[in-house]
């Protein structure tokens, strides 16, 4: 049940042969080697597998790989530029928003989408919480994560 799909992964155009039974998560980890994409619950509750499809966050565990045909995928591996962390990544470091780390790639991608969507708008901490409601951190480091998102939003307009 193979299909050939063409998509952009972290800015690079790729042609992949995928099985229609595969989730995007499986293809990203096993074929593209992008192991930042974690499988947690596998049923769309924990957000550890969050990636951006055309800049929109989705759970890649509940996304058929064939649906990625013609689309642009972003994972945490593609967020830094020339060794420099993205603003959201840097904010996570500065806020101490990483504990065990397994939820972090998913959180960074959900936060990145949130920050890009809300740039230039006034956003409060209570606004950020529902924006990250699709991600669980079992170390319960939520407060630092929300601080990181706030920092990313507050730091002007430079990329």
């Amino acid at each position: 049940m193979k299909r050939t799909i063409t998509c952009t992964i972290n800015g690079k155009r790729k042609e992949l042969t995928v099985d229609v039974r595969q989730s995007l998560l499986e293809v990203l980890r096993e074929q593209a080697g992008l192991i930042s994409v974690k499988q947690g619950c596998a049923v769309g509750e924990c957000g550890a597998c969050t990636v951006l499809i055309d800049n929109v966050p989705i759970d890649s565990c509940l996304y058929l790989a064939v649906w990625a045909d013609g689309r642009s995928i972003r994972t945490v591996e593609g967020e830094s530029r020339d060794g420099k962390l993205s603003r959201v990544q840097q904010a996570f470091v500065e806020a101490g928003a990483v504990q065990c780390g397994i939820c972090t790639p998913g959180f960074v991608m959900a936060a990145t989408a949130f920050v890009e969507k809300h740039r230039g708008r006034k956003v409060t901490r209570p606004d950020i919480r529902p924006g990250l409601a699709g991600n669980l951190c079992r170390c319960t480091g939520y407060d630092s994560i929300i601080t990181a998102v706030q920092k990313s939003l507050d730091e002007g307009d430079e990329p």
């Binding site: 769309g44 957000g47 990250l132």
Partner: protein, 292 residues
């Protein structure tokens, strides 16, 4: 890998109907947030799929020349919640779908899928019931229309034949113009949770009277349901605190909540009365009414 035995991608609604007719075991997959969870659990009945995920004609949200709203069944909840038309004309629906899952789920899950699953807890159902929504269903012989109220037949059972596709959900102008609404959901968590009780109240006021009330609940009966007896009882009555108390008492007789691991029947009855009171009150305030 998901245990998918056959997979056909449909490029149009007509093709989806044809592919469903070709394989009587096949069923639709749209957003995937329910079907793929069921496949993950290897649940029977989901191994043959017709994919309508990418059909553009199912994703439009429009307003006709007559002012009727037409929501493509394949619209994801984010698209519904952020649609300027929905926010302006039926904000109660935007309010309800924002309570579903988290952002990632709302970016994928479709409003049509929510209705076709037929679960009692569907958050999109109470506001759409309260707006007298009508469904458009395509089965190959031209579209048929059906009131949403007649669609729900039992837990997980809806009036959709195996070869049919729900294409659109419509709200006629007369059913929303002059009406104001409120949706309230009680759940253990503020996000990523299923409604213990969901309540949509939609009303129209005139001269301090409740000219019309439409009240609908999720998880309060085997199907999402309207409270017709309560609505008839209070229609035309003067707005007062006593009226709200009366609604909260009457509404439990319209419903049959059950005990589950989430909540007991007794607890749900308590929440039903509270949400009815609060929901009608909020809807009246939205409509510019005052409660002496």
């Amino acid at each position: 890998m998901f245990n998918i035995e056959s997979y056909r991608k449909a490029g149009s609604v007509a093709e989806a109907v044809r592919l469903l007719r070709e394989n009587p075991l096949a069923r639709l997959i749209a957003g995937g947030t329910d079907v793929l969870v069921k496949l993950r659990k290897n649940q029977e009945g989901f191994h043959h799929l017709v994919d309508i995920h990418d059909i553009a004609e199912l994703k439009c949200i429009t307003r006709t020349a007559d002012g009727d709203l037409v929501i493509g069944a394949g619209s994801c909840f984010t698209a519904v919640a952020e649609s300027p038309l929905i926010r302006r004309y039926v904000p109660v629906l935007a309010q309800a779908v924002r309570t579903i899952g988290g952002p990632q789920v709302r970016n994928m899950a479709t409003i049509g899928g929510n209705l076709c699953n037929g679960v009692p807890s569907a958050d999109s159902a109470p506001p759409l019931l309260a707006l007298n929504a009508v469904l458009t269903i395509e089965g190959g012989a031209g579209p048929r229309q059906m009131p949403l109220e007649d669609f729900f037949q039992g837990p997980g059972r809806v009036a959709l034949e195996q070869h049919e596709v729900l294409t659109a959900i419509s709200v006629a102008r007369d059913n929303y113009a002059g009406y104001y609404g409120h949706y309230d959901k009680y759940a253990m968590r503020a996000a990523m949770d299923i409604a213990t009780i969901g309540c949509a109240a939609v009303c129209r006021l005139e001269d301090g009277r409740l000219q019309d009330l439409r009240l609908a609940f999720a998880t309060a009966a085997p199907v999402p349901i309207r409270c017709k007896a309560t609505e008839d009882r209070v229609r035309g009555r003067r707005i007062s605190p006593e009226l709200l108390d009366d609604i909260a008492r009457a509404v439990t007789k319209d419903l049959q909540p059950r005990t589950s691991w989430r909540a007991t029947k007794e607890f749900r009855l308590q929440i039903i009365a509270t949400l009815a009171h609060r929901g009608v009150r909020q809807a009246i305030l939205e409509a510019g009414g005052s409660i002496a």
